[in-house]
């Protein structure tokens, strides 16, 4: 029992890192070039970073095409100065690549970069490849993608949706990359990851095989600090880092211009992120996203917006600790909020109960004050959440 409890404490300690305040970097750490370019008849400020050892100089905002079948929007993106179009073999069952193919037809091959992704059958639970995941199948899919795009090569080809280090080193796909490079069908290879990102990024870095990593990276990730660390290591080894899912969570609340802009600025604060792909579907959002390059610095208002959103998305506090000392009963509010997160976000009542047990709470919690003196920086209804989760102290141990 003792051993088990220590394990949980370690778990809590490690997750605490994930709920600390959002990091905000000073702009002095950015390494980029700024150019004024003519964009659809207007002068616009563009910020470029180099995509690691590929040497590709890309604007920090590029286009993830996956959500649109509108050729005029893709055309407008390219005409506006965006250089990289990101798609995948499987998007819209291939229609996405076909639409891009129609747009780039006739354009000078040096005027744009195409990144696509190929996925092979994986076990959904383990993230490991199944028997049907062969070199031949990968290369066959690449040929289909090239045909849809009307190209003889793509600039970046990613192994799509990797979530395990074993999958990064999956021999048949490595072989396929090697053959594709030799045949001149791809310039650079990479891996895309949406889950268990730190492990995958570390594995790609250690493999010394690939050129680029496309990773989900957002302030809403519970483990963004681990992602940040892995990205820094990868970037130091010369890998190009492309960020995605910067504005994740449209399903939970309508994205506003303010939170879209702030979300992109947040990810671009990290000097190790060389570009992000934005999945805009309107001309208005294209303009909004490009305008981010006018000033990548987060305003105070945008920082507050991010703090709020991070809390709404995960129902957990951001550990700003501004509440410390405000409660006359000296309740450990950040710890109680953590217990709340374990219960409702992680759905792990046992962990929450263990934590509550360690907090030495009084018999009656948040029941005797006529009003709450604690002012939460992000407007959490603290007494309500505390009353809710403190009930667990009266429950017999679940373990």
């Amino acid at each position: 029992m003792h051993k088990k409890l220590i394990g949980r404490r370690d778990f809590m300690k490690s997750t605490l890192a994930g709920v600390g305040g959002l990091f905000f970097l000073p702009s002095s750490e950015w390494k980029h070039e700024i150019k004024i370019v003519e964009s659809r008849g207007k002068e616009k400020k563009f910020v470029y970073r180099t995509l690691g050892k590929t040497g590709l100089k890309l604007p920090v905002i590029n286009m993830g095409v996956m959500l649109t079948d509108n050729p005029s929007l893709i055309r407008a993106a390219l005409d506006s100065g965006i250089l990289l179009l990101d798609t995948a073999h499987g998007y819209m069952q291939g229609r996405n690549e076909e639409t891009i193919g129609g747009v780039i037809k006739g354009r000078h091959r040096d005027s744009f970069y195409i990144a696509t992704k190929i996925g092979l059958p994986q076990n959904r639970t383990t993230g490991l490849y199944l028997e049907g995941a062969t070199t031949e199948e990968f290369l066959k899919r690449l040929d289909i993608s090239l045909k849809r795009l009307g190209l003889d090569h793509v600039d970046i080809l990613y192994q799509h949706g990797v979530s395990r280090k074993e999958s990064v080193m999956y021999e048949p796909i490595l072989k396929a990359f090697e053959q594709a490079k030799k045949a001149g069908k791809i310039r650079f290879s990479g891996v895309s990851t949406h889950s268990n990102e730190p492990e995958v990024i570390d594995a790609v870095t250690d493999s010394k095989i690939h050129d680029v990593i496309l990773t989900a990276y957002t302030f809403k990730q519970k483990h963004y600090q681990e992602v940040k660390k892995a990205i820094a290591r990868a970037s130091a080894e010369g890998l190009g880092i492309v960020g995605m899912k910067a504005v994740r969570g449209a399903f939970q609340q309508q994205p506003t211009t303010q939170n879209i802009v702030a979300s992109f600025k947040w990810i671009l604060q990290d000097p190790n992120v060389h570009t992000v792909i934005a999945g805009f579907t309107t001309f208005e959002h294209l303009e909004t996203d490009l305008a981010i390059m006018n000033d990548l610095t987060l305003t105070d208002q945008e920082k507050l917006e991010l703090q709020k959103e991070a809390s709404i998305q995960g129902l957990y506090c951001q550990g700003c600790r501004q509440c410390i000392g405000q409660c006359p009963e000296k309740l450990p509010i950040p710890d109680l909020m953590r217990a709340y997160m374990y219960t409702y976000d992680y759905r792990n009542v046992a962990h929450a109960q263990d934590l509550i047990g360690l907090l030495d709470l009084p018999n009656r919690v948040c029941e005797d004050c006529s009003f709450c003196r604690v002012k939460c920086a992000i407007d959490f209804n603290i007494p309500k959440k505390i009353r809710d989760v403190a009930r667990l102290k009266d429950v017999p141990s679940l373990t």
Binding site: L67, D69, Q93, S195, K245, Q252, T281, F283, V395
Partner: protein, 287 residues
């Protein structure tokens, strides 16, 4: 007792918040066994299953996804994804985004098509995607048997959106019809648009149609488009409007009653007028 009730209460709360199911029975196919539990995804958790592709499905109001995996003795596998959307029109929308006009179509559900390794079909508010791995030369046969049984368990096959019948048939590309739920033409003020492709020996163009029960919505669309294209001050009225769109070129758009219809990518004025008229005639036939 109080403690048990509390635990039960919390457990039920968590369970209810994560589960919104309807009675769909996954197919039983001879020689295949389900491997693992049936998984259920909601709009909030869809990312966990299809990653970034979830955004597109969310635009088409997906309400739930149920997934079952099967294996046979030879370790081949089949995955059945059943997406339930808010309405049959939304299901058609996402299906039409992925459907290849020149596909290998089958009368399964309302319509389905086969490509090596997968079979997709539409049925009422359901979009069903079945994929197979390691099924070798029996790939099509296996997928079809799963698709037929899944369709049989989903009830009524439903109908294509009736509005599609109003598109002029002349030179229409078969199975090119789509439904765009949001941001049609890249504008947030244009939505719920049906489209179809047309092909002449030297021209390809697109017709579109929007129907709203509230005429004010249509008036607002025209007004916003007028403002967008620099015709500020001009009031939206029913009739034909020609827009010089900076992104799409010249677009003719007609508003009458509960409909807006128009043409994209067609410079030939006479042909444009001809098709707009044909469209209007078809719309008149609607009750």
């Amino acid at each position: 007792m109080k403690a048990i009730c509390l635990i039960l209460g919390i457990t039920i709360c968590l369970w209810v918040s994560g589960a919104e199911t309807k009675g769909f029975k996954f197919p039983e196919v001879t020689g295949w066994k389900k491997s693992g539990e049936i998984q259920t995804f909601t709009p909030k958790t869809l990312y966990e299953y299809i990653n970034g592709a979830a955004d597109l499905y969310l635009m088409y109001e997906v309400e739930e996804l149920k997934v079952a995996e099967y294996q046979n003795e030879k370790k081949a596998s089949v995955i059945v994804d059943v997406y339930r959307h808010k309405t049959p029109v939304h299901a058609f929308g996402i299906y039409s985004q992925e459907r290849p006009p020149g596909g290998n179509f089958f009368d399964i559900g309302l319509q389905g098509y086969y490509e090596k390794g997968f079979f997709n079909f539409l049925m009422g508010p359901y979009y069903v995607k079945i994929s197979a791995t390691d099924t070798g030369t029996q790939d099509q046969e296996v997928l079809l048997s799963f698709a037929k049984k899944a369709a049989g368990n989903l009830g009524e096959k439903g109908k294509f959106p009736p509005l599609l019948a109003s598109f002029p048939e002349k030179r229409k590309v078969e199975n090119s019809e789509t439904f765009i739920a949001k941001n049609f033409l890249g504008y947030p003020f244009l939505y719920s648009a049906f489209t179809a492709d047309y092909e002449l020996p030297d021209k390809k163009f697109k017709l579109f149609l929007i129907e709203r029960s509230d005429k004010k919505e249509l008036g607002n669309m025209i007004q916003r488009y007028l403002d967008q294209t620099g015709k500020t001050g001009k009031v939206a009225v029913e009739g034909r409007h020609t827009f010089s769109d900076p992104h799409h070129g010249e677009i003719d758009l007609c508003w009458k009653g509960h409909y807006i219809w128009g043409i994209i990518n067609l410079n030939d004025l006479a042909l444009r007028s001809n098709y707009l008229k044909l469209f209007e005639e078809e719309l008149k036939k609607r009750k």
